[in-house]
């Protein structure tokens, strides 16, 4: 291998990641009839950051709306400097963005109740948008047979392309308002619980009440409807029969129809 090639590639990558610190350009690059070497390199430097900021903007459209384009782009640039892409696909570019927003918040040393509300909102909104993006192309159950209401509880398990999340703000509502170009205002804090499921390649978000959220979390953890019902009955201090009746009468059918479940394979 050319012993100079590793050094040259390190130099050029550094020139993309930190363009202001680039030195030694004329020693490595030639001028063209119309541009000097620095201006030619600048084409790559400019495209690198514009391309990736644009990519993040497409992955976090509601967050960009909430922050405004200039501030979002500033955050995106800082994020890309701290967390340059580590994957061969741009699908992963925003994977660490919500975590980076949380870790880099200026009030992170303060107790939670003294922190800035709007930062909590931004972090939650970023988490929600990332989850939508992930589920778009995650392995799912399309092509398989979906259970009907006749399938017994013992055979129901959560489908593979499914997520549960809780937020401090109604971020799913906010996101869809933005997508419908309704320019929503910054919403007041209000806990929200959602299930996100993909069926027939369409991802839908289902707002949940806290008990339903608890039940689905228990089902995700325990893998059994019966055990999840028992866990929730204990948690909410209600008779199991009452919880089971609620499940049978009001919840089970709509959730099966919505595609929350697939049928467990093999023996029960």
């Amino acid at each position: 291998m050319n012993p100079g090639l590793p050094g040259l590639q390190r130099w050029m990558l550094d020139a993309l990641l930190a363009p202001r610190r680039t030195e030694g350009i004329d020693a490595r690059l030639t001028a063209s009839p119309m541009l000097d070497a620095r201006a030619r390199l600048a084409i790559y430097q400019r495209s690198y950051i514009l391309r990736l900021v644009k990519c993040l903007a497409e992955q976090f459209p509601a967050l960009r709306h909430a922050l405004g384009a200039p501030l979002f782009d500033d955050f995106a640039r800082e994020y890309l400097a701290a967390c340059p892409s580590d994957a061969y696909t741009l699908y992963e570019l925003g994977r660490r963005f919500p975590g980076w927003l949380e870790e880099s918040r200026p009030d992170r040393e303060l107790p939670p109740d003294e922190r800035e509300d709007w930062i909590d909102f931004m972090v939650d909104l970023a988490r929600y948008e990332r989850e939508l993006f992930r589920l778009f192309d995650a392995p799912g159950h399309e092509g398989g047979v979906w259970p009907t209401v006749d399938v017994p509880d013992a055979r129901l398990v959560l489908q593979p392309c499914f997520a549960l999340a809780q937020y401090r703000y109604p971020v799913a509502w906010y996101y869809h308002e933005v997508r419908h170009e309704r320019s929503p205002a910054f919403p007041p804090a209000h806990p929200s619980y959602v299930a996100i499921a993909r069926r027939d390649y369409l991802t839908a978000t289902f707002p949940l009440n806290p008990v339903h959220f608890q039940f689905l979390c228990a089902l995700h953890k325990l893998g059994s409807v019966d055990e999840a019902l028992q866990a929730v009955a204990l948690e909410v201090e209600r008779p199991l029969a009452e919880v089971r009746r609620s499940w049978d009468d009001a919840v089970r059918g709509p959730w099966i129809q919505a595609g929350f479940f697939v049928e467990r394979e093999g023996e029960i």
Binding site: L8, R28, M34, D86, F133, D137, H176, T205
Partner: protein, 306 residues
């Protein structure tokens, strides 16, 4: 390699039209990385399209020129996808995209010299062994020149193909863009190009920024590139040709009509005087557009009533 005719780059915004209308396009080229890990609709659609049309895979992240080790996991996924869709061939670019675990997502140029050639020859052989098929490599659009370059790009590609048996994808627009940016003659480039190794050609639009051209894939092919294509078509003996349109992508029919314009440039005498002039200047153009790398994922969501 078979002559596939005139094809179109497969883009997510056209999925519905292609599946519903089965347009009379000869073949499709899919961006490998958009489908290699797809458990969702993109993979599902590609499998359906592969049932109806010849499909070629075109990658942007193999990083054949990188000094970082080859990503064997990437190559294994690429082979699996190529086998699954019965890819007629698999292509990528003569470039590097990153090192040290960082991907720039750009098609970065290389200094072309003997030592770089040896480095890439070894990697192409390794890739071909893993993929169990020849690799097809494309000339990238370039905006810089290296002092360490001692071999002209056509000669480098000829030597690479001779050493490894790889095929070549001649991007005619990239020839025009790179030669303009370097102040060199695109006809001289084609005079030196090893056409006997050309498996496929690319066409695309670019932007003229005055002092340089940028390969933006966001508009129709300009007259100068069509004229250069006439020369390349005749010298290649009519290689499979594909149009890339990745930014501001119009309806499918318009993209298809654009590639069909190639029929008007297959015959007739090449006229060098038509090589001047290109698309109008536009500010803030981005090379290697991302639209085709990040399809409209965020469009397919709905919020149920609470």
């Amino acid at each position: 390699m078979p002559d596939l005719g005139l094809g179109v780059g497969l883009r997510n915004c056209h999925f519905g039209h292609i599946l519903a209308e089965s347009p009379a396009v000869d073949w499709f080229e899919a961006i490998s990385e958009n489908f290699m890990d797809s458990g969702g609709r993109p993979g599902h659609v590609l499998r359906q399209i592969a049932e109806r049309y010849p499909v070629v895979l075109h990658g942007v992240s193999m990083s054949i020129g990188s000094t970082a080790p080859l990503d064997r996991g990437y190559l294994a996924r690429l082979k699996r996808l190529a086998d699954e869709v019965r890819a007629v061939w698999v292509s990528d670019h003569l470039c590097w995209t990153g090192i040290a675990g960082i991907n720039s997502h750009d098609l970065l140029p290389l200094p072309l010299n003997d030592e770089t050639l040896r480095h890439i020859v070894a990697r192409v052989r390794e890739v071909q062994n893993i993929l169990e098929r020849p690799l097809i490599l494309e000339n990238p659009s370039t905006y810089i020149g290296f002092r360490d370059t001692t071999i002209a790009e056509p000669d480098f590609l000829r030597a690479l193909a001779d050493e490894t048996g790889c095929g070549l994808l001649l991007d005619v627009n990239n020839v025009y863009v790179s030669c303009f940016n370097a102040g060199t003659d695109p006809v001289a480039y084609l005079d030196a190009f090893p056409f006997e190794r050309v498996v496929q050609m690319h066409l695309a639009g670019h932007q003229n920024c005055g002092t340089h051209l940028i390969d933006t894939h966001d508009g129709p092919v300009c007259d100068a590139v069509w004229e250069l294509f006439r020369l390349a078509w005749q010298r290649s003996g009519g290689a499979s040709t594909l149009l890339e349109w990745d930014g501001d992508v119009p309806p499918f029919e318009q993209v298809h009509d654009e590639v069909l314009r190639a029929r008007g440039f297959m015959e007739g005498a090449f006229d060098r005087s038509r090589l001047t002039g290109s698309a109008p200047a536009r500010e803030a153009s981005i090379s290697t557009p991302v639209d085709f790398l990040v399809p409209g994922v965020m469009e397919s969501n709905r919020l149920e009533a609470g």
